[in-house]
Symmetry: D2
Subunit: 328 residues, 4 copies
């Protein structure tokens, strides 16, 4: 039996808890959350105990930790867990500061523990199929990548204020997707952006609409578009253009029903948001973590993924500030 | 220079005139229509002369005739034209009576003239591509054929009354499509139908909604669905199911524009009716007729197509009356 | 806690067991199967005990039964379960004989127990959305229904021989779908069919390719097409044509990935077979059964659905034999 | 009768000649081309005379000119035609030098003649429908525009060498599309590019794969992707994302036929290249020119369109050279 401690009993913590609890050989033994009622609720559901972080990490029967608490606690918990020799699954981002991420990853590396970063999209069956098609040579050499990533609606301004900004908070997923599919490091980043969705986001010092272009050493190009608001739901598409063909992942829709009448043909809109769209990805991500704890797999997204994506996000911020392409 | 006489200066006559006049080496020399102003209008447009049928057919410089007049004149004009040794293009149906069609075709055959029947859908590029895919073996053995054929709105009751009924007037196109794609004669016909669109159609002794099933000697099956009214336009689809795959022709739509919003994804409806949908088919049909006159081609749909489709329509009428499958 | 006994530990029994075991307040207490190892395997998985049917039905703590054993045991088990006052979920068909079904249903009715028949497609989210669209008037009056239902590959000949034939075994699902969507009883049935997939199916006295047309008292028409083999997977589509529009349920595909190259645009094929396609339907079906046991819902498909669909299947068999439409 | 002189009897000249000759009230009286056989061939086809530019422009019966000769002759011919008071239709680009375009347009303006620049895509029915949807408010405020524009295969290196480079020769169409749809001038241009298709293009000092981002004063963003080679044909798509929805123009495909088998679902690839894809646009463009000559319309793309698009192309070249966003 594998024993796991859950840090963070919020929405995404509950998703991870449900997914890991599906494994008959995994037990959630502890739940840690500063907000006691949330911790207690999940603990009751899974027969776990609410304890402090220190208590949980000191218990030798704990094999791994799931860090789904607020971003500013991630790096600290990762260090503590690494020092306690626990396998780590941590939600992205590791931290909003590249310097802090480097420190943290040094300790994780030193302690040699399993470390999986929650870039859930790498586990999505649709994007996995795309990755496989590229690796299998079905499009020849990948030359241009187009990533469209739009949320249905912006988060509260209070969240925006502590999020680290659109590039570190939202586009970081797309930077990771780009790195994964390009399979080559990015050497140039350019960002342009504006505030078109809500002026309050601009007042908070952030942007809500952004375009970024990336270039690799061999000349592969990538364009990423983000918006904090799409009237039609969660827009998650990728197009990979290569010398022999083009592969595209379309949105998953709410149903296959269509209605045709005098106005035209109506089909369903995309699934609403990440919990619906990446339902399978979240499940497979935790399956991977369980397999990692058992030494049967390695993380699809490890600590370097957390660092490199943040470096791209920083470069985008700098590019937006200076109106220049940033070389890496 | 090829000289052609046009019988019938109505809507479809005008379409054929425009299509044949595109050929720089074809001249419309005569227009014949009981309604003088219509005849004069087309004659003026194409530099032709309005004459009587007798006059036109007696002129040795006339190479061919296009018969696009009312149905009840078709067989007579075909006989006269055949006897005058003119190449014939005649709109479907040849006649509403199988007996009359047989008589007419005997004369056409005896005179040995070119005779093309206006089953325009055989010339449509989409259905041609389907036919080619079947012939090329892309679906293996064809086993089931599904023909969906619905008009945007019913014709006037006065037209219904002289039309010969849905099976002879409308489904006859689908019977021809079935025969063409099945490439094997039909041995069993069953029809069921009702009047759901307009009670006045029922009062006129006709039906407006019908399903027919066909079977060939080797056991291939075909289903045809007709409605006199589709709220979304002209619905013209065919699905060919075979041992190795399925080939489908979808509707042509008014545009490729789509709009996605909180209601879903809206795309364009099918093109409105036959003049839009079969625009290319009408053009290619007349190209074929010109090539036939020059002995460079044979009609894609000849006189036997006119007869055999009518026989299937008669069988459908009889099946509907008796609630039995009719063997042929 | 609700206690359920599972009859039949084969493939579909395992699916139902997994779906019902998801409910934290449902316990599978017994498994009954003539083949002891299969019974034991499922019993171990769910902490149940392998017992005889008599033992299970005599236990007052058993609230309901899931009958997923071979077809020839269904009616008998239903009667025994009804007499033991257990809620019943039974796979279709209740029996291959209309007479036997009537006897069985009389007892079920007399005992007044919950009885749900496994017409899983009614629970499918796609077809539910279609049903809702029709009920909501989105297509106006339903006038024509087209049901396409093709299996990826035929079952073994040994199965065919005891299946009751294509109409009772396979098309029975489509008859139920037709009745559900038409929302009006069928008054006329016509069937045509052939053996095009495998001659051995013909030798076993069955057909493998069939078209059926149905008509209701008010004149609504329905066409059903079945094949025992579709090269591209499980083909499960429905098109509802009405006075104001057309609603269509397309196949669910294996992914949303497309590949465009010099050959064209390739997208994924339909999901392979019923376990994949109706994955959600099987889950929701058992959710409904649990809700029925708790008196919080009524079966979406009750005993009369089992009977009426079989009556349509019988009529289709008779129509095929006589080449006449059968009036009901 | 309107008399027109055609300059340039190459491929696009022939297209324009055919489209303008469709008008019964338009006469092509002269053809001018340095390559006499090409000029003679078109002249014969349309009953025109091969003459020198001077002769044609000196003839008072000539109402308008179609300039479809090589790029380096455009500006000069435009000036001569303007001074001769002829209505002008000129293929893009006016010239490869912004300075020269300004000079030329000053003369055109001074002479007050009709001047239409061949940005054919503005006349395309698909993009017209998109423009109308935006203007009608169907997507709310336009916030992001994505233009995908890829040719099936690169032109010969000799053409590349005199083309002015990808931004002036190819992306200029997309700059015009962006300006037209954004309906607001661009204030910032950033370009990144590489040579991935053919190293010889790089040796010729050009790029074959490029991404450009544009920004307007109000913060609207636009991304353009170009490739000189798409294995699947001519890729011409536009996506307009707005506050209330997203409108997309998809590629036109060669047919509506699909084939589904064990490999998946295959549909047709995009139409091959501009002559196929913009067939209707070329026709409507000349209809507009005829209407302009008659004072019944104004050019959809006038001389300023030629200038502004070239300014964006220049900025892209400069951005690529400096790796900085260029402010306008």
């Amino acid at each position: 039996m594998i024993n796991v401690c859950l840090f963070g009993a919020g929405r995404i913590g509950a998703v991870h808890a449900a997914n890991i609890a599906r494994h008959s050989e995994v037990n959630i033994c502890y739940v840690v959350d500063a907000y006691e009622p949330a911790a207690q609720k999940l603990a009751t559901l899974y027969g776990a105990t609410v304890v402090s972080a220190e208590h949980a990490l000191a218990d030798p029967k704990v094999d791994g930790v799931i860090i789904a608490s607020s971003t500013n606690t991630h790096a600290n918990l990762m260090e503590l867990a690494a020092r306690a020799k626990k396998a780590i699954f941590c939600e992205k981002p590791v931290d909003l500061s590249v310097k802090r991420v480097r420190e943290c990853l040094a300790i994780v590396k030193e302690m040699g523990v399993v470390c999986s970063i929650g870039f859930n999209r790498r586990y999505d069956p649709q994007f996995s199929a795309l990755k496989q098609a590229i690796v299998a040579g079905e499009i020849g050499n990948l030359e241009m990548l187009t990533i469209t990533s739009r949320d249905p609606s912006p988060p509260p301004i209070e969240y925006i204020e502590v999020s680290g900004g659109l590039f570190r908070d939202m586009m970081i997923h797309d930077f990771d997707m780009a790195r994964w599919l390009l399979d080559e490091e990015v050497v140039e980043v350019f960002a342009t952006a504006s505030c078109q969705v809500d002026a309050a986001i601009g007042s908070a010092g952030d942007v809500d609409t952004a375009l970024v272009t990336l270039k690799t050493a061999s000349g592969k190009l990538c364009q990423i578009s983000n918006s904090r608001r799409a009237s039609y739901g969660y827009d998650q598409r990728v197009e990979a253009f290569g010398s022999k063909g083009m592969a595209q992942v379309a949105n998953q829709t709410e149903s296959t029903l269509t209605l045709t009448n005098g106005l035209g043909r109506m089909s369903a809109k995309p699934e609403y948001f990440f919990l619906e769209r990446y339902n399978n990805a979240y499940r497979l991500e935790l399956d991977n973590f369980v397999a990692c704890i058992r030494n049967e797999a390695v993380p699809v997204a490890g600590p370097m993924e957390g660092l490199q994506s943040l470096i791209l996000a920083e470069a985008a911020v700098e590019s937006l500030r200076t109106a220049k392409a940033i070389s890496l």
